[in-house]
């Protein structure tokens, strides 16, 4: 059984911080189909539309009938561990620094043989396993063989922890802790074992219901942070930037207008200032230190979480300016992902449907509860996914968008 992770000792300031290395990140284009599945936490393999054959590794044609009509489909992840090994030598720096490293050869019940990273709680072959598609530190999909049922402390397995961004023993900055979502996020991170949670508040004199309760949590430290003010962002980064392992950007401004519902651009500008430029200010101030600490021992810098919106993919006209600001933030988050991925830091983008808060008062249910949204973020960090669509509305919009973005545009403009 996995040894529970011990609380890491305080960092020795005399020692050099190791520079981050990455596992090999090159993939073919068909191989990236696995990464697309891993990004959303699904286990998908190539299935042939014509003969039904399932295949792995990914190919350009069906190995059975030569059809090129292949599609990625959710697949049974159960299998049998046929053989296992422990590597004591590697040709790659990333693994060399982490030896010994367990690997297994798994025969999926679906009928393919898979080379996989092997969790410590899986006994020697033969043994039953389930495979998970994880994103590794290079941000690419890899197969990880896990025990068939969850085991105590299994997330603390050193190899699995290299694939995930588990908040346990990590220091987190939640950029706005006063909103309902921000508060839920702080509570969820505290229960997930975060070591310290800095909670930003832009206007300390405003008392928001519930916010006071957070102060009772021993992990919580309130910090002044106004994401619309470059100086405020830089001051905080100067103070704690070298210690933050996970940034959770919950700061957002949400108003409920389209183009013709309100004259002028003041509200739209304010939304952009928080939702888009706020992310840019934060990324410029906190990004470099995060990149530099991506291999800093057990509590290394690992992740950046952006609270976006499903409206970032397709405008919700009733909240049109908000949608536009989230689309801008979504685009910037892709840029941030490209810039921090070479250090092994993951950008987790969260695309909820309407949250059950005051700004969505007039929208009919279902609406995602702030606590459910926060739980989805913690789950994503623990399981190492990077695109999160929490709640039924988000899931449905995402499916519709994947299926046909144009159709979704018309559906939404016709009333959702």
């Amino acid at each position: 059984m996995t040894e529970p992770l011990a609380r890491p000792p305080r960092k020795n300031p005399v020692l050099r911080t190791p520079l981050p290395t990455l596992p090999p990140g090159g993939r073919s284009r068909v191989g990236l189909g696995l990464t697309a599945a891993a990004a959303v936490g699904r286990f998908m393999l190539q299935h042939c539309r014509d003969c039904g054959a399932v295949q792995y590794p990914p190919r350009e044609a069906c190995h059975a009938c030569l059809s090129v009509r292949l599609r990625w489909r959710d697949t049974d992840c159960g299998g049998e561990l046929l053989s296992d090994t422990r590597l004591h030598h590697s040709n790659d720096l990333f693994f060399r620094e982490r030896l010994p490293w367990r690997l297994g050869l798994v025969r999926l019940d679906a009928g393919c043989s898979v080379v996989a990273h092997l969790h410590g709680d899986v006994g020697p072959a033969p043994a039953r396993v389930r495979l998970r598609l994880c994103l590794d530190r290079a941000g690419q999909a890899v197969m990880m063989a896990l025990p068939p049922q969850d085991t105590p402390d299994m997330n603390d397995d050193p190899q699995l922890r290299e694939m995930t961004c588990d908040p346990k023993f990590r220091k987190v900055l939640v950029t706005d802790g006063k909103s309902m979502v921000g508060q839920a996020m702080v509570r969820a991170l505290a229960s997930a074992g975060a070591d310290l949670i800095w909670v930003g508040h832009a206007e300390p004199w405003k008392r928001m219901p519930g916010a006071e309760g957070l102060s009772a949590l021993p992990q919580v430290a309130w910090v002044p942070l106004d994401v619309t003010d470059s100086r405020s962002v830089e001051e905080l980064a100067g103070e704690i930037g070298g210690k933050v392992d996970i940034v959770v950007n919950t700061a957002e401004l949400h108003r409920t207008h389209g183009i013709s519902g309100r004259r002028g651009v003041d509200t739209a500008r304010a939304e952009m200032d928080v939702n888009y430029l706020g992310l840019l200010r934060l990324a410029q101030a906190f990004g470099p230190a995060l990149r530099g600490r991506a291999a800093d021992g057990v509590p290394s810098a690992v992740a950046w979480v952006n609270l976006l919106s499903i409206y970032a993919l397709t405008s919700f006209p009733a909240h049109g300016t908000y949608s536009a600001s989230k689309a801008a933030a979504h685009s910037l988050a892709q840029c941030l992902r490209a810039e921090v991925r070479p250090a092994g830091v993951r950008v987790v983008n969260v695309y909820p449907g309407p949250v059950d808060d005051e700004w969505n008062q007039l929208l009919p249910p279902p609406k995602v509860a702030p606590a459910a949204l926060a739980a989805a973020v913690v789950k994503a960090l623990r399981e190492g996914t990077e695109d999160v669509y929490p709640g039924d509305v988000a899931q449905e919009w995402f499916e519709r968008w994947r299926d046909d973005p144009k159709a979704l545009e018309r559906e939404v403009s016709a009333g959702g």
Partner: protein, 392 residues
């Protein structure tokens, strides 16, 4: 059950086995080793360069060139050319293609060359780009290269058929004994069972002496008709039969048998021989488990009896079942694609009285195998040939 229309190889001679001495690392390019090999072939054969009408080259480190680049690099103008980039199976495949080219009259004399250089970092650099499946589905998993895959195969074989570390140790130690009589072998210090069992772990259950040492070097030979070899007074072996097979048993969940098992009966039928007629074997030895599996797949014992076969035989050149009498790649070193030619050259030496102090006594017939290309979870290419001493 020989295939009725498959043409015999019986008029084919394999001659002038030439080795460019192995070096652990070299600062030279692969073209240097190809050049030394070609020079050695024509010098030892006493032929002008222009008489090489056919050329087949195997190399991992020749990039960006292929065989055609070699023609301009070395000033050849062949009328038949092939490039066989299949590593451990390349020697057998080169031999088969060259033999058919000679028989059809497309070339009179074909030079077959396996050559590679080895820079300090070239092995590591070759791994990640070895195949699309390696890039997508094995190299990102610990980057152990073929060691990880053969660790799976070895561990599974041990569990399924009761092989022990000592069985594999016995093979490695016998090959080391053979290597002590091969001055080109890089590893010639005697190996004890304690050293074998206690060596540095690489990928459980594999340890250091289960793995070949990558090096630089070349192996080359000429293929021509028996009649031509006689005219040139070249000592030669004749080719009695040859097979190859790719991606055999693709549905086996893990490698336990190779393509040899598909075609071994055809090989013996073509040669008009049985397994019991073979005087020695040169079996592709990237890892000792593969030698054991070939004892089974090539018909020397039944599937699963490999470990018992190892225990009841001695594999030295003077033993009851002489195996890899040059020391094999495990002791001579693996000079890239030349590793796929090593067994052919050693067999020709054994059959032409050129094996010196490691000669197998009264060797008349030898079997050579090849095995190459771990594109994903197993080696895809298998080949084998039966060579015989030329009748006087």
């Amino acid at each position: 059950m020989t295939r009725p229309h498959r043409m015999s190889y019986e008029d084919i001679a394999v001659t002038v086995p030439f080795t460019v001495p192995y070096e652990r690392f070299s600062i030279r390019g692969a073209h240097w080793f190809v050049g030394r090999a070609l020079d050695g072939l024509i010098r030892e054969a006493g032929l002008p360069k222009q008489s090489i009408e056919g050329l087949v080259v195997s190399s991992f480190t020749l990039a960006p060139d292929t065989a055609v680049g070699v023609t301009q690099h070395l000033g050849l103008s062949p009328r038949w050319l092939d490039h066989v980039p299949t590593g451990g199976a390349s020697g057998l495949m080169a031999l088969r293609r060259a033999a058919r080219a000679v028989q059809s009259g497309d070339a009179d004399i074909v030079a077959c060359i396996g050559a590679d250089t080895n820079h300090v970092d070239s092995f590591r650099q070759s791994l990640g780009s070895f195949s699309q499946f390696a890039r997508d589905a094995t190299y990102p998993y610990g980057s152990g290269g073929p060691n990880s895959i053969f660790a799976f195969i070895t561990a599974h074989y041990m569990q399924a058929y009761g092989a022990t570390r000592e069985d594999f140790g016995k093979l490695c130690i016998a090959q080391r004994e053979n290597a002590r009589r091969n001055e080109n072998a890089l590893l010639r210090k005697p190996l004890t069972m304690a050293e074998y069992l206690g060596a540095r772990p690489i990928a459980d259950p594999l340890r250091l002496f289960d793995c070949v040492m990558p090096c630089a070097g070349a192996e080359a030979f000429l293929v021509m008709t028996v009649q031509r070899a006689r005219e040139l007074h070249l000592p030669h072996a004749t080719l009695l039969g040859a097979i190859e097979r790719h991606n055999a048993y693709a549905d086996d969940p893990i490698f336990v048998r190779g393509g040899w098992a598909v075609d071994a009966a055809e090989l013996y039928a073509q040669a008009g021989l049985q397994a019991t007629d073979i005087d020695f074997v040169q079996l592709y030895d990237d890892y000792p488990v593969i030698v054991t599996i070939q004892f089974e797949d090539l018909g020397f014992c039944a599937k699963g009896e490999g470990p018992a076969f190892v225990r009841s035989n001695s594999m030295t050149h003077d033993g009851s079942f002489p195996t890899n009498t040059s020391g094999g790649q495990l002791s001579a070193g693996q000079a890239g694609a030349a590793g796929g030619f090593l067994g052919i050259n050693e067999a020709v030496r054994q059959l032409t009285g050129a094996a010196g102090s490691r000669a197998v006594s009264n060797a008349r017939v030898g079997l050579v195998s090849g095995f190459g290309m771990v594109t994903y979870d197993r080696c895809l290419c298998t080949g084998a040939a039966i060579l015989a001493a030329a009748s006087a």
